[in-house]
């Protein structure tokens, strides 16, 4: 069985995706809520081919939970962290979703909710995640090209041939000047052995290129810089 209908083309996200109520979510960088035990902060900067910071990129992450599972129908194992039925109700109280529909006062509250929680200028709508793990992160870069996330380290994920993939986070990079999203992966520096046997990392022979996919421990968190071009160009994938 093949694809019978061709897809709608990609176009650049452009320079204006951060307008009020558009793509930045006030809780976008919070893959887990602040204060979650064991949460790690991953941050980095995005650079162009001249080594200049990219101040208008949008970084998105998608990852397994700490047991290497996904809350998705194609993962028959299901999530290891139970989603609570009250989660969405809690989100509403926080001022987004239906709360915004309550009239202009509710609308204003939703839009201005906790701008500090978002990325650069990210006052906006909250996606919400209830008390648990969302798997999804989104952060626009600031004027220094910096983005950040607060998350839990994913567990190893089953790989073809009954093997395991080293813990990793899939990353989408979108920006003005990029007509298609590009994809990279964040691997973890404390996983030396697992990384060595990872079916994706181990196919990259050049150590310098492999290193572009491994975050660096720094200031109690992790740093993952993204170079769109240049001698230290990040490895990007065709997924």
């Amino acid at each position: 069985m093949g694809t019978v209908q061709p897809t709608t083309p990609s176009q650049t996200v452009g320079p204006f995706f951060a307008l009020p109520g558009a793509l930045p979510w006030s809780d976008g960088p919070l893959v887990v809520p602040e204060g979650t035990p064991g949460a790690i902060r991953i941050s980095g900067r995005v650079f162009d081919g001249d080594g200049a910071p990219v101040p208008d990129a949008l970084i998105e992450t998608w990852q397994a939970d700490p047991d290497g599972r996904f809350s998705h129908p194609d993962d028959p194992r299901g999530p290891s962290i139970p989603r609570q039925a009250t989660a969405d109700a809690a989100d509403r109280v926080a001022g987004n979703g239906a709360g915004r529909g309550a009239g202009s006062a509710g609308s204003a509250a939703g839009r201005d909710a906790d701008p500090a929680a978002g990325g650069a200028g990210a006052a906006g709508w909250a996606l919400g995640h209830g008390p648990g793990f969302r798997g999804l992160g989104r952060c626009p870069t600031d004027t220094d090209g910096r983005y950040w996330f607060l998350t839990l380290k994913p567990g190893p994920v089953p790989a073809p041939g009954n093997g395991l993939q080293a813990p990793h986070i899939d990353v989408s990079v979108l920006a003005r000047g990029m007509l298609n999203r590009v994809v990279t992966r964040i691997y973890f520096p404390d996983e030396t052995t697992t990384n060595e046997h990872d079916p994706v990392l181990s196919t990259i022979d050049e150590p310098g290129q492999r290193a572009t996919l491994v975050a660096v421990a720094e200031d109690g968190g992790l740093r993952f810089d993204i170079h769109l071009q240049g001698s230290d160009e990040t490895v990007f994938f065709d997924v």
Binding site: P9, A22, D48, G49, D75, D88, D170, G177, P199
Partner: protein
């Protein structure tokens, strides 16, 4: 609990021919922002065939109505913009987040980076979202955006467009695109539109005027279906793709 060898994963074949030429030279900002090294193949595993699942209570009713976000109504031509999110097999994509953003009727974005000498509209921000229903349908109320100038080349103008962001149900399906309006005289000189080299693919970015969804004496209707990559039949994860 099934172990890894019991996993059956869908495979989402790519459709490179429909997408822009990444470093399309006519769009000058690609020059320093398009990776130079060839992309490496990434086998589609669990991380790639899964994605966020959205509940309908994530968004409010009014999030899909860009004309009711302020005390007054925005200026411009009111439109109903609706359609379906489908996968490449023609199946609807239900429960997926659809986000859009756009300029106002004068061609100005509510964004500090937009220096176009056209008025902001105090009653229009330009962002909206909804979650598709069980048949993949979405529906927005908004105003038709204006064309706007940019500095890509001498006397460059973007055709009127609305930006869309879609997740689908898998990381492989993620799509950010722009929707254009039928018969725009600016298509020929726009390098972003023309970065899609396939003529038939370009047509898939243009919505249809839809008399059927027009609301008499209130708003014109436009229809825009969006097709994301579709999954092939499930395979055992330890089979080669």
């Amino acid at each position: 609990m099934p172990d890894a060898t019991d996993l059956r994963l869908p495979y989402y074949p790519p459709d490179h021919g429909s997408h822009p030429e990444p470093g399309f030279a006519g769009y000058h900002s690609t020059r320093l922002r398009t990776p130079h090294r060839p992309l490496r193949p990434l086998p589609q595993g669990l991380t790639e065939v899964t994605g966020p699942v959205f509940g309908h209570d994530r968004v409010g009713e009014l999030d899909a109505d860009l004309t009711r976000q302020h005390a007054g109504e925005p200026l411009g031509e009111r439109i109903v913009l609706h359609g379906r999110i489908l996968d490449g097999n023609g199946r609807p994509v239900p429960d997926t987040l659809v986000e859009l953003w756009q300029a106002n009727a004068a061609g100005r974005y509510r964004h500090e980076g937009d220096q176009h000498d056209a008025p902001l509209d105090p009653n229009f921000d330009g962002g909206g979202r909804c979650v598709t229903d069980s048949q993949g349908n979405y529906r927005f109320i908004t105003i038709k955006p204006g064309a706007y100038p940019w500095r890509n080349h001498s006397n460059a103008w973007r055709p009127a467009h609305i930006h869309f962001s879609l997740f689908g149900q898998a990381f492989t399906q993620r799509l950010v695109t722009q929707m254009y309006f039928p018969g725009d005289p600016l298509f020929g000189q726009d390098p972003i539109f023309n970065s899609v080299r396939d003529e038939a693919a370009r047509q898939r970015m243009i919505c249809d005027f839809d008399l059927g969804s027009t609301v008499p004496e209130w708003a014109l209707g436009y229809r825009f279906d969006i097709v994301l990559r579709g999954p092939q039949a499930a395979v055992f994860e330890d089979e080669e793709h």
